[in-house]
Symmetry: C2
Subunit: 192 residues, 2 copies
Amino acid sequence: MSINSVKFRQFILGLLAQQAMSGYDIKRVLKELGWLVGTPSFGSLYPALHTLLDNGLVTVKVVSRQDKPSRKIYTITQAGQQALQEWASQPIGSNLSLKSFIMRLILADSFTKEELCTQLGQRRDQVMAHHTALEKASGLLDETSSFGQRLASDYSLALADAELSWIEGTLNRLSQEPSPTEAEQTKIMDRT
Amino acid sequence: MSINSVKFRQFILGLLAQQAMSGYDIKRVLKELGWLVGTPSFGSLYPALHTLLDNGLVTVKVVSRQDKPSRKIYTITQAGQQALQEWASQPIGSNLSLKSFIMRLILADSFTKEELCTQLGQRRDQVMAHHTALEKASGLLDETSSFGQRLASDYSLALADAELSWIEGTLNRLSQEPSPTEAEQTKIMDRT
DNA sequence: ATGTGCATGTAACTGGTTACATGATTCG
DNA sequence: CGAATCATGTAACCAGTTACATGCACAT
């Protein structure tokens, strides 16, 4: 449901970078992705597209088809691509939510391998910090505090562990494979 | 930061059930919990307390101390306890977020062992559904779609696996131990 | 006196959802 | 003809943050 208080305009810009689409298409894609990022409502999706348009990051083209209602296909512009690049190169916020991170993963094709690795590394550091903070806190509270707090921190530690090992594994995979993204990237680019 | 679009009045009501506190205290507790649930701002915390008060779920008592500013200590009422119980017994929403679930874990002391197990079971079912949906989706998309989408679903699957195994393990632990919560619960109750 | 930590509160703003309005096209 | 799906849009509302205002108490 909720897109988790994320400024997700950049995310849909990234989706448009991979594939020119209509607002309705974006909704469908996000719905197929299911729980991963949540599905924004049209009430936030369409205004976001209008804003992107006003900022010159995308262009519209009305496509009429005889069998179905006409649709507005949004295509990313040069400026949009630049904005996206800028976003990719700057460090991820210090308390990035899980969903926001997944959004970045989904847009991995738009990033260079270095950028992707940088982001994975930053995420790893954040999660590690969270992990150690939790451990310290639960160490302090073990005697005094409630069963529920122990449960919750145990649970969070388990998830943090899983996330860390996935990130490490992925970083290793990426450094071994020569350039898995390159082929994809060119494939996507030459559709303009 | 963000409390993740949750109606968290019930959560702070639950915190008050474990321990009578002031708004400032709640903020501190939540801050110590760190990333777990996010820290609500005073701008949402105080109004929430006022609402609980208006609904008769808590009572206030101004406590003046000579060395520090006076504080408003909120204590849960009979009605509040009942409301909390009601909340605990009804099934968790179908798309409960991680943070919302952690909130419930933190309040585990207010639940009976059965209620807790029920909630864990519901969560397990949800995550399992998510897991299979993701697997099916990524099966379809493996050939056609982007590197990023594969990355994201791989990541999500890893996290879902971790969550599932933690839940299973916890359920087992709970069913083996006789009644770990009872001692805690009485300890908390006899402070009125 | 002035600054810092404790403590409470509120008004303005923001970002999103809900619910509604509109319209084309296809199916029964 | 009415219902369903595709498709776009907007206005009202709501929850939460930001930023501000207030005041006490203690230390410098």
